[in-house]
Structures are given as structure tokens and as C-alpha cells.
């Protein structure tokens, strides 16, 4: 269970997050919003990459607000795959396996589910965009995180490949049975992957019934959808 309460963040005078509160169980929650609405900032605060000005992040009953990223057990998939270019795919995927985190069985399962078996010995530069995204996801899942955070992980991918990847991503994310926060500004992608939806506008968040409704909400707030 991931519980976020009263999270605020300002960059100078600009208020990026305003009293954001959210509770997620074992589901894939999609946060929909335009660029600059504060979605990525929220994920980085949950991951511990950025510090919030106020508020709490509680993970499975443990307040992790003051912990550095390495102690939070969070899986983070950024917008660009950000693979370790000097390591092969196998080393990338196993990177976070230490101190009792993850297991060989889980790695094998994730590698199989994401169809990475044939590229394990390759360097990231030899991979297509789709395989880079798969590797990035596998690397985050392998240490068995307590929450998964995905920040527009397929934004660099062609629609045809995205169509194939989304069901795979959904299957493997559901397999881990942890709260998943998935950020996107693509309504179709949101419907394909999400169990539940929230919309974010100008640093404020609210739950919403469907991706379609989220975009209607954004339009209603007189913001042009990009």
C-alpha cells in the first residue's frame, strides 16, 4: 500500500505540487496530465530523488519521507530507458540484486515475461527502442520493489510497438502484486494499462473514473490537450 498525504513542492515561486494526497493498493493507477502538471515531480518525490517541501510518503505502513532513494525499495522507470551503457542487458537487469533484494527466480521470470532471453548478452546500444524499454522495466522489477513508478516509459516508442508492449507491461506489473503508479499523457495508453485513474492539473490531483473522463476534466479546466 502506498499512501501519500499533503505533499507540496515549489521551485522558487512556482508551486508544482499542491497538497497532493493519494492512496494506492495492489493496482495500476495511471496519473494523467499535461506536460508540466507535476506528475514527474510527484514520482521523483516518492522515489526519494527529490525532497518534498511538506507531506508524507508511507509505504506498507512505513514512513519513508526522510529516507534516501537507496533505502526505499522503489522501482523507477524513467521516461528515457536510462540503461547503464557500459553493462550488458543481463548486468543491467541484475544491477539491483543485493542485500536480499530480489531473487534469481524472479529475474528469470521477468526476463521470460518480457522476452529478453535472446538479448541478455547484448549492450544497450545494440537494442531497439522496444527492447530498451523492456530492459528498463525488468531492471526496476528484478529487486522486487515495494512500489513501481513509471514515468511515461513508452513515450519514445512507435505506436505499433507500443500496442505489443502494453499488454506485456501490464501482465508483468500485475504479476509483482505491488502498487504501480504509471504516468502518461496518452489517453489510449492509459486505458490499455490502467486499473484506476487520477488526473493532475496544475499540481492538484483527483481520482477519476476513466482516462476519457480525465481528459474531459482537463479540457473543462480550459487547458488545451497537447
Amino acid at each position: 500500500m502506498l499512501e501519500i498525504s499533503g505533499v507540496c513542492k515549489c521551485y522558487g515561486q512556482h508551486e508544482v505540487l499542491r497538497d497532493v494526497s493519494l492512496t494506492i493498493g495492489q493496482e495500476i493507477r495511471v496519473i494523467i496530465g499535461l506536460n508540466g502538471s507535476g506528475k514527474s515531480t510527484l514520482l521523483k518525490i516518492i522515489a526519494g530523488i527529490l525532497a518534498a517541501d511538506a507531506g508524507q510518503v508511507v509505504l506498507n505502513g512505513r514512513d519513508v519521507s526522510a529516507l534516501p532513494p537507496e533505502e526505499r525499495r522503489v522501482g523507477y522507470v524513467p521516461q528515457h530507458p536510462a540503461l547503464f551503457s557500459h553493462l550488458i542487458v543481463r548486468e543491467n537487469v541484475r544491477y539491483g540484486l543485493r542485500g536480499g533484494r530480489g531473487s534469481d527466480e524472479l529475474v528469470q521470470k521477468v526476463v521470460k515475461m518480457l522476452d529478453l532471453e535472446d538479448v541478455l548478452e547484448r549492450k544497450p546500444e545494440e537494442l531497439s527502442g522496444g527492447y530498451k524499454s523492456r530492459t528498463s522495466l525488468a531492471r526496476a522489477l528484478a529487486p522486487q520493489p515495494q512500489v513501481m513508478l513509471l514515468d511515461e516509459p513508452l513515450s519514445d516508442i512507435d505506436v505499433a510497438i507500443k500496442e505489443k508492449l502494453l499488454p506485456e507491461f501490464r501482465e508483468v506489473l500485475k504479476f509483482l502484486k505491488v502498487p504501480v503508479l504509471y504516468v502518461t499523457h496518452d489517453p489510449w495508453e492509459a486505458e490499455q494499462i490502467g486499473d484506476s485513474f487520477s488526473v493532475m492539473v496544475d499540481g492538484c490531483i483527483r481520482d477519476i473514473a476513466s482516462a476519457e473522463e480525465a481528459f474531459a476534466f482537463i479540457r473543462k479546466n480550459r487547458i488545451e490537450v497537447a
Binding site: P68, A82, G99
Partner: protein
């Protein structure tokens, strides 16, 4: 064909101010001077001193600059980083005689008299330290700019996978900074090769002991042995061109990697 103003101004000025002095030096080479210089044991000792001290200084520069890179990436708000960043630029603006004097006062007889009569001064270690002092900013800037070119998300991911900042720096940042580390090393090495004032102030100009190529040339000019000074200078030019070529080749390799 009409030439623009830049062609008209740049080309003649470049030929006059850069090419002409180098050509003048090379045109003054003569067989007798080359023969006498190559037979001079002190010349070869100064070559060995120069290359050894410059390599040691460049290595020290690269190691310290890698440390600065860590602060540049993770601790930009710390006092240590702010002071280090400020002092990085100091040796560039400082007259190198002043740098030499500062080193002499810091590591000379007064503070390091327990090591020997002159402290560290007038030893090959002093030559290395003097070269390091004036070259370090170049290495630090090269590595900081390498850190700036890195994808920040790579570090963020490494942190969420269990790395402390230091672990992330050693495991995912430094391994992909080959070009920046190499550039920092070569820039520091070439700057060290050319250093004169700080080396002479702190390391002295003792033939066979702390004399380097730059001070060998100076000594030969003072002694009126112009043809030997010209030969040693031409040797310096060849050494510098070799380094520039090496840097270019490695950059080419990384660009195509």
C-alpha cells in the same frame, strides 16, 4: 571571388601570430645545434624529468578532478563544492610565479623542514606539485563538463536500485566518463609540460635534478647557447603536436564508438 572580413583579418593574423613564430623557430634549427643538444646528458635528463613529472601531475589532477566531479554531481550546495569551485579558477588567473611562491611557502622549509633542509622545495616532487597546481583546473573543468553531459536519470535509477551517491558515481558515472577523464588527463599533461614559472620558483632549475624542458630552454638562452635552445624548443613542439594528435585520435574514436 570576394573574401569576407573574417577571411581578410583572421588568416593573415593567424599566419603572423601563430604560424610565423613556430616557423621562425624551426627555420633556426641547425645541424650543429641538434648534434650538441642530443649529445647533452642534461637535455635527456630534462626530457625524462618533464615527461615523468607531467605524467605524475596529470594523474594526480585526474584523480582529484574525479573527486570534484562527485561534488559537482551530488553536492553542489555544500560549502566544500562552493570553495572548490571558486578555487578551481584561481590558478588560471594567478601569475604562476605567485603560485610557485605559494607552494614554496606551504611546502618549503618552514612547514616541511622535517623532510629535508629545503622541505619539499627543489625536488622532483616539488616539480610535480607545481605542475599539478597550475594544471588541475583544466582537468576539473573537463570532468565537470563530462558530468553535465551525462543523462541524470541514469544516476537516479542507480540510486533507486540501491546505490549510495558514492556507489552510483563509481559504478555508473565514472565507467561512462572515459572521454572526459581522458581529456582531463591529456589537458593536464600538456599544461604540465609547458609550465615554467611555478616549476622554477618551487622546484628550482637544477640541471639533471629538477630541470625540465622549459627551464632547459631558458638556461640555454641565458648561457648564449641559442642553437641548443632552438633544438630543445623544436623537441617541445614535436612533443606537443604528438599530444594534440593523440587527443584528436581518441576523440575521434569516442565519437564513432
Amino acid at each position: 571571388m570576394r573574401k569576407n572580413l573574417i577571411d581578410v583579418v583572421f588568416v593573415p593574423l593567424f599566419l603572423l601570430l601563430v604560424v610565423f613564430p613556430v616557423a621562425a623557430l624551426l627555420l633556426n634549427l641547425d645541424g650543429k645545434g641538434i648534434e650538441r643538444t642530443l649529445a647533452d646528458e642534461m637535455f635527456w635528463r630534462s626530457v625524462v624529468n618533464t615527461i615523468f613529472a607531467a605524467l605524475a601531475a596529470a594523474l594526480l589532477c585526474t584523480v582529484l578532478a574525479a573527486g570534484f566531479g562527485y561534488y559537482h554531481l551530488f553536492k553542489q550546495h555544500s560549502i566544500v563544492y562552493k570553495v572548490a569551485n571558486l578555487l578551481n579558477d584561481l590558478p588560471i588567473a594567478l601569475p604562476h610565479t605567485v603560485a610557485g611562491l605559494a607552494l614554496l611557502l606551504a611546502f618549503g622549509r618552514k612547514n616541511f623542514g622535517f623532510i629535508g633542509e629545503t622541505g619539499l622545495a627543489f625536488t622532483l616532487t616539488a616539480v610535480v606539485l607545481a605542475m599539478f597546481f597550475v594544471s588541475y583546473p583544466l582537468a576539473a573543468r573537463a570532468i565537470a563538463s563530462g558530468v553535465d553531459r551525462m543523462e541524470r536519470e541514469v544516476v537516479d535509477v542507480a540510486r533507486t536500485l540501491g546505490d549510495t551517491p558514492a556507489q552510483a558515481y563509481f559504478k555508473v558515472v565514472l565507467p561512462v566518463m572515459g572521454e572526459a577523464l581522458f581529456s582531463g588527463f591529456v589537458l593536464a599533461f600538456s599544461r604540465s609540460l609547458s609550465e615554467f614559472a611555478a616549476v622554477v620558483m618551487f622546484g628550482g632549475n637544477l640541471p639533471g635534478s629538477t630541470q625540465v624542458l622549459a627551464s632547459y630552454v631558458f638556461t640555454k638562452v641565458e648561457e648564449g647557447e641559442l642553437e641548443m635552445a632552438v633544438t630543445a624548443s623544436a623537441f617541445c613542439i614535436m612533443l606537443s603536436l604528438l599530444i594534440v594528435a593523440l587527443l584528436g585520435l581518441r576523440r575521434l574514436k569516442w565519437r564513432h564508438a
